[in-house]
């Protein structure tokens, strides 16, 4: 069978459309903007309200998707000069390129979504072995040591609750992305300190920001490839 040059090019174009490049969702946090109000925790509040994350009085058993760490604890003692030591840094799941949690999960309950790189969690498959918590170098994962529902003061019926015995974490708001919205933390930030988008798309705001500003990540020496960037 002979194929004309024109038909060949048309086929190529169709293939390119069919196998479009996967997106790579990423976040950049501009710390100088974030530090305009060092007492602000609105990102964490918005996230935890939107996802029915309970507030558990026993700090040792708390569940958190996004929270603040001191600069030196997030980036290591030797990265924190006097100008930044003690300053609060918002930290969350990094949705790594090479997520250790996904590698160690014995059931595939946590997995990396091919289409956009989100590290997802299927709480219905999780056996609660907590291997992912041992593996995550960023402390991004929380386990439901008891029934979380009894600690929920308000309930958002639009989002599922979890039950005891499973692990959960930040999802980059996959449910909001599906509706064309930004993640809850990004949207609520009064200083627009967080920028979120497809880093694989050169025209996106996040890609432009990462091209023009120096960005750094947590524990780059581990090779996990975090998709949460910090700018200062």
């Amino acid at each position: 069978m002979k194929i004309t040059r024109q038909a060949f090019l048309a086929l190529l174009a169709a293939a390119a459309r069919a196998f479009s490049k996967p997106r790579r969702m990423a976040m950049a946090i501009d710390l100088s903007k974030c530090w305009k109000d060092r007492g602000c925790t609105r990102c964490a509040q918005a996230c935890h309200a939107a996802h029915n994350v309970p507030r558990i009085p026993d700090r040792r058993r708390e569940i958190k998707w996004i929270w603040e760490e001191r600069f030196e604890n997030a980036f290591g003692q030797e990265s924190a000069g006097p100008a930044v030591a003690g300053a609060p840094v918002p930290v969350l799941c990094n949705h790594c390129e090479h997520p250790a949690c996904v590698q160690v999960c014995p059931t595939g309950a946590t997995f990396k979504r091919e289409s956009d790189g989100l590290v997802m969690m299927d709480e219905h498959r999780c056996i609660g072995c907590r291997y992912c918590m041992a593996a995550c170098p960023y402390g991004a994962r929380s386990f439901n040591w008891s029934d979380p529902r009894s600690f929920l003061r308000t309930l958002d019926p639009a989002y599922p609750t979890r039950e005891k015995g499973v692990v959960e974490k930040c999802t980059f708001c996959n449910e909001r992305l599906a509706r064309g919205q930004q993640p809850a933390c990004v949207e609520v930030c009064p200083f627009k300190a967080m920028v979120f988008g497809d880093a694989a798309d050169p025209s996106s705001a996040i890609a432009q920001l990462l091209r023009t500003r120096h960005a750094f990540r947590r524990k780059p020496e581990l090779g996990a490839g975090p998709n949460v960037f910090y700018i200062l």
Binding site: T107, A109, C129, G139, S142, F143, W145, S146
Partner: protein
């Protein structure tokens, strides 16, 4: 099965011993039901210290299981005929230890009802998947071998299985070490010495326990066998302490932040116990087997796992204090193991009384 039935029954003291073990196991089941009902909040574990005694004890018992190789290998590969009466004990101990190890995994799960997800959704990138396969395979191998050994001299197929069981024993503890030693974010465990050290400590603890069990059951293993078991124990314990010191050197001389931080007073205390046990073993003390066994049960079964979590990757020091429920469940699994060992040893004993022991070809 009559052999097994006979083993469940015995003298008055024996019946009391068995009754006490049954009671402890029953109490453990009740405690576990409570834990299942209320969640792992009943343990001392936390967000920062996600694994505790259960996973530590699991690790320790995988080591005891693997240590059967210290009698199987000399007997079958090198024809150490002195081990003719202990080799069956080693296999029986391996069976009981694998069962205990699997029970410790089970009680540690948040959703034990979903355990089969590990097989329904096999994940070859997870060492836990491989570890469960290796452990269940090892259990099956030892059940077959122990039953065959009781039946008579080894057939050709049996000999092939014995040869398979030797590297398999090494593999279960190597894979268990890999569970921890491949985690980039946990510097205390991220060491190539972990699997060798696991094997060294296992090969010390197994012979030590066999000596203790022979004493407890008044099982006549033969003086030469006991002497050789002590020798294996002492060399393996020396290797274990040596490897532990290598870890200390690298952690402290390198000066890398976060390496030395995991060495707490508990780690040093545990190291001190191991050093003392080694000193007793080198001094040929009668208490050496008990000391070696206890110090390694503490080091691997209690200290190793929490120490990897404290401090957390963010530098938080969250203490880990096991609760009474947790301790009760641990005790119950030890009792379940003891129950199995008691019955299986009685089976081995009655076999030894009935027939002439076979010799390796």
């Amino acid at each position: 099965m009559t052999v097994l039935a006979n083993a469940m029954w015995g003298s008055r003291a024996y019946r009391w011993w068995m009754a006490a073990l049954y009671a402890a196991v029953a109490a453990g089941v009740l405690l576990w039901l409570r834990q299942w009902n209320q969640g792992l909040v009943l343990t001392g574990m936390s967000r920062d210290v996600a694994w505790g005694l259960y996973v530590g004890q699991f690790t320790f018992f995988v080591g005891v299981a693997a240590s059967a190789v210290t009698v199987v290998l000399p007997y079958y590969l090198h024809a150490w005929k002195d081990f003719v009466r202990v080799v069956i004990l080693g296999e029986m101990l391996a069976i009981a230890s694998v069962v205990a190890a699997l029970l410790f995994v089970f009680v540690d799960l948040g959703r034990p009802d979903r355990l089969l997800n590990v097989l329904l959704h096999p994940s070859p990138s997870s060492l836990m998947f491989w570890d469960l396969l290796a452990l269940t395979g090892y259990l099956a191998l030892n059940v077959i071998l122990a039953r065959a050994a009781l039946a008579g001299p080894p057939a050709a197929w049996n000999r092939a299985l014995i040869l398979v069981s030797i590297p398999w024993a090494v593999s279960i503890h190597t894979i268990t070490a890999f569970l921890y030693a491949g985690l980039a974010g946990r510097p205390f465990w991220l060491t190539a010495a972990m699997a060798p050290r696991f094997l060294a400590s296992a090969f010390a603890v197994g012979p030590a326990l066999l000596i203790l069990l022979c004493r407890a059951f008044r099982y006549d293993a033969g003086d030469e066998a006991l002497r050789k078991l002590r020798l294996v124990m002492t060399y393996a314990m020396t290797a274990n302490v040596f490897l532990a010191l290598m870890e200390v050197f690298t952690a402290f001389y390198s000066g890398i932040p976060g390496e030395a931080a995991h060495y707490s007073p508990w780690t040093w205390l545990s190291g001190g116990f191991m050093a003392a046990a080694l000193a007793l073993a080198l001094g040929r003390s009668r208490y050496a087997p008990a000391a070696v066994f206890a110090s390694l049960a503490i080091d691997k079964g209690v200290v190793l796992i929490p120490a990897g979590f404290i401090p957390s990757p963010e530098g938080a020091v969250t203490p880990y204090i096991p609760t009474a429920v947790e301790l009760g469940i641990v005790l119950a699994i030890w009792c379940a193991g003891a129950l199995l060992v008691t019955v299986l040893f009685r089976v081995a004993e009655s076999y030894n009384r009935r027939s002439c022991p076979h010799h390796p070809s």
